[in-house]
Subunit: 110 residues, 2 copies
DNA sequence: TATTCGCGCAACCATATGGTTGTATATTAT
DNA sequence: ATAATATACAACCATATGGTTGCGCGAATA
């Protein structure tokens, strides 16, 4: 089933976004490519910890690495963000569906 | 800082949504209230496991419980979904900002 | 009344997560 | 050539997560 794979992707994307540091890395790298040490300078944790956060984002395909000399430039990829958004949109659509159902019931009572 | 609390809330919401079973529970409970055992009947896991999933959603304020007799009716609350969507919207807005910047650079080259 | 049903909770287990330090390697700068 | 920088990777640790089973309790039913 394709759905299984899609669900696993969504798992990874939402999991990756469930951390304030990683969301911040997304914001920084959405604006432009940044090296890992460039990122690490901004957070109160070790370089290796930031490296791990980047790895989590990369496995979720939220970010890609480009080798430039001894650096790895990290830049965000918006594709999976859109997928996650589509998932939330679907949930909100279901909610509106429920409201529409209630409206139907209410208008029948008139 | 209020931001800290908001970030922690987002952590919980994204974490809660990072599981296919919990996303499915959201879909079912967005359409209407369902008891925990009603939910549990649909998944290949124990009642207690489903109970825990519901607890994760509840702690993220994605769901609320209403006691009716011996049952707890679970229904989804769309508020936190909207917050999560706003977060993703912000990320996509940053991406468009980046594209706009590139456009500016490209048009200067003309 | 006795029993079954729905739920909450605790204990337990295996694995994942988020952090650390340390070591190795490739690239850049002195 | 040497030193410093940027990264990768492994080992380790504490805690969180996702599942299980078992027990107790209040509510519905026979």
């Amino acid at each position: 089933m394709v759905a299984r794979i899609a669900e696993a992707r969504l798992d990874r994307v939402f999991r990756a976004l469930a951390d304030a540091t990683r969301r911040d890395i997304m914001r920084r790298t959405l604006l432009g490519a940044v090296s890992i040490s460039g990122l690490a300078a901004d957070y109160d944790m070790s370089f290796a910890a930031v490296q791990k956060h980047v790895a989590v984002l990369a496995k979720a395909s939220l970010v890609r690495k480009a080798s430039v000399g001894r650096e790895r430039l990290i830049s965000a990829v918006p594709n999976e963000i859109a997928r996650a958004r589509a998932c939330l949109d679907e949930l909100e659509a279901l909610w509106r569906h429920r409201l529409a159902g209630l409206d139907a019931v209410l208008s029948e009572k008139k």
